[in-house]
Amino acid sequence: MVSHDGGSFVVKKVAKKSASRTHGRSARGRAPGRATRERAKNGKTSATHQKPSAKRKSSRRAEHRTPMRRSKGIRRSRVTAPPPEARASRFRPGSPRRRLIAALVVMSLVMLAIVARVAFLQTTEAETLRSAGADQWTRSYDIAAQRGTVFDRHGNELAMSVPAVSVSINPKLVENGPATIQLLDDLLELPDATTAELLDEIESKDRGFVYVARQADAAVGDQISSMRLAGVNVDRESRREMPGGDTGRSVIGRTNIDGEGIAGLELQYDDVLTGSGGSRSREVAPNGRSIPGSETVTEQPIAGDDLVLTLDRSIQFSTEQVLLEKVSEIGARGATAIVIETKTGEILSMASVRLDAVAGEYQVTSGNFAAVDAYEPGSVAKVITVASALSEGLVTPDTSYEVPWRKQYYDDLLKDSHQHPNEWMSVSQILIESSNIGTIMVQQEMGRALHRDYMSAFGLGEKTALDFPGESPGILKESKDLWGSERVTVAYGQGVSSTSLQLAGAINTIANGGTYVAPKLVKATVGPDGSVTEAAPAEERRVVSEEAAAQTRAMMREVVCRGTATRAQVDGLSIAGKTGTAFKAADNGTYFNENGERIYYASFVGFFPADDPEVTVLVSVDEPPAGTNDRFGGTAAAPVFAELAPTLIHELGIRPAAGTTGCE
């Protein structure tokens, strides 16, 4: 037993066992030394041969031993080094060949282990480790594709994206919360409620991300960034803006806060305008800077296409303004107007205004009611009935009927708008004076089925080619499905419903010489490389003969000059048109509102110059005040047309043929 005692090694041995231990060690292949051999021979330890003084010291120490140790006879002795000969014998160099082989084996094993580990890392865990490593030193950024711009026909921006920022905080990292929020409040002009919420978030420190403001001004974002406030983040994004204010808002629609189209053309052409986003990944150092010489992988975003609309920004603005003025003046619920280029079907303006109940003022609507709202067109539809009969050759403008002011048809006693004695009226007079009974007589010449086919050919009862989001197809029943007096009232526009867009397209057919041209709103798209792709030409189809259209135009001109639409006249310009005053179906299923008052839809559709029309305009006033003279198409809608006409003449450069006057 070996122990360390006061800096010298001692061996504690049991005397009886020392010999056998020593012998045992030699038996394991070590040559015992001479002294050891002697000790084994004499049965004594080397201590017996020590000097007397040492022996005394040893006995003195023994006195201090515990009784138990003494009783067992434990004795101590110094270790003595074996003699040089023995050492030379014990520590000889051995076989170098064996050592080399052993070293080779060990090295091979180590190398094998390394190779195995490398193989394991390169195969089984390769992908995991590679991605984990890449995550540590690469940074990927999404590059948002720029949303396309919406232009008018002259390249003026109607809607576009401008740089903006989103400001957010990490409440867990914000230092001096109240001061930080106060600073952000000063720069971003936050609402009080938002400020309070942010302070609560900072207090609670529950969340790691809270928006402070979205789509904030980019310059303000730069200011905030430069302050390097702890826990405040500023990220780039874009904001959809309409530089012309509300001009065209009904048609263009809008996007949500993430820049996705949610209404109007922004929704309809969202995939065209959006483009596809890109990304960039680069290797960065811990401080966030790019590692020089490292690879930067960039997937370029593809900017969205730009839309070039057929709208004219100036005409759109003027249309909205005259509508706003008129509905404000007469106190109507709202109004819509459409201006179509006669020969191409291109829509120059499409406006909807309505009284905002919350704000208490008339505004341009975000909904395109000209395409979405269907209503019974009323007397405007008489144009379709008369033109169809003329085209079929069943009547001529001079064909006359004895027309009473009222007559029983099926379950209803139907009337003209005013009382008159039974009188012989030509087809022209029927249209000019807008006789309901006379129009029924013309329709009966055709038969209900044929009349229905013509109305369908004029574009009623189905969505237009625009396929605008939420567009209504209107209602055009099959002739066999008509019930009661509906069978005849469809002749003058009751019992059938259409949108302003459909109706404008239908009447534009007459202006265009009997050929229907589908309304068109998108003129072209501009690709990412600036290349322009023209939209397909509008679909065309002949509906009535050119002669029938010309005859109808002549009648409509008389409507403006001496019929129900005299307020649509413009000095020096020949205008053809037709008024309509229709009962509007209320939500309660009747034509009366909750106050028991009849509700109306007043319309006027016209085109000019009457001889060679260039532009067709439909104006519809929703719920003009009942009981006043402003409830009629001739008083509510026709003046809007007359207000708008000078702007159209100016913007479109329309020059009437020499010698043409208005109605003189």
Partner: protein
């Protein structure tokens, strides 16, 4: 390894040989080319390391320049959009109508068609001055859509 004597082959020195003078031999001069070669290699490695450091620095500078340029391109593109927006806003009928209204202008309620004779037209052109072709081209190219298309075609595919 083979040159090392094995311990068992070493014969213990005899006392009789201790007093003898060792055998001496003339040692020839060591050849110096290995030292020169080593020095050259060392210098080569040093120069290589120095070159690598310089190259790395150059790369870092270029990368910084690229980063700066990318930021500059992005900033200029943003500026282009902001200016385009501002121009569109200034040209919008809403602003023009508001500004016109502030100085008392009102929309005309009626129009009158006036025949302009060729002589009158010529006189007006002369009074207004001759419009040169270049000016016309500038005016034509200042159409917003044309300008936008030009910029878009140039920046297509740029980061």
């Amino acid at each position: 390894m083979a040159a090392l004597p094995l311990l068992r082959d070493v014969q213990p020195l005899r006392k009789s040989t201790l007093g003898k003078r060792p055998d001496l031999a003339v040692v020839q001069n060591r050849r110096r080319w290995p030292a020169v070669l080593a020095g050259f290699l060392w210098a080569l490695v040093f120069a290589g390391l120095l070159g690598a450091a310089v190259f790395h620095t150059q790369l870092a500078e270029r990368q910084l320049q690229i980063d700066r340029l990318e930021r500059s391109v992005a900033a200029q593109r943003e500026l282009f959009d902001e200016l385009r927006y501002e121009r569109a806003r200034l040209r919008s009928p809403v602003r023009l109508a508001t500004a016109a209204g502030e100085i008392g202008m009102r929309r005309g309620s009626n129009g009158e068609f006036v025949e302009v004779s060729a002589q009158q037209l010529a006189r007006q052109l002369a009074a207004a001055g001759v419009v040169n072709v270049g000016a016309v081209q500038i005016i034509v190219s200042s159409e917003p859509l044309e300008q936008f298309r030009d910029v878009k075609s140039v920046t297509d595919g740029q980061p």
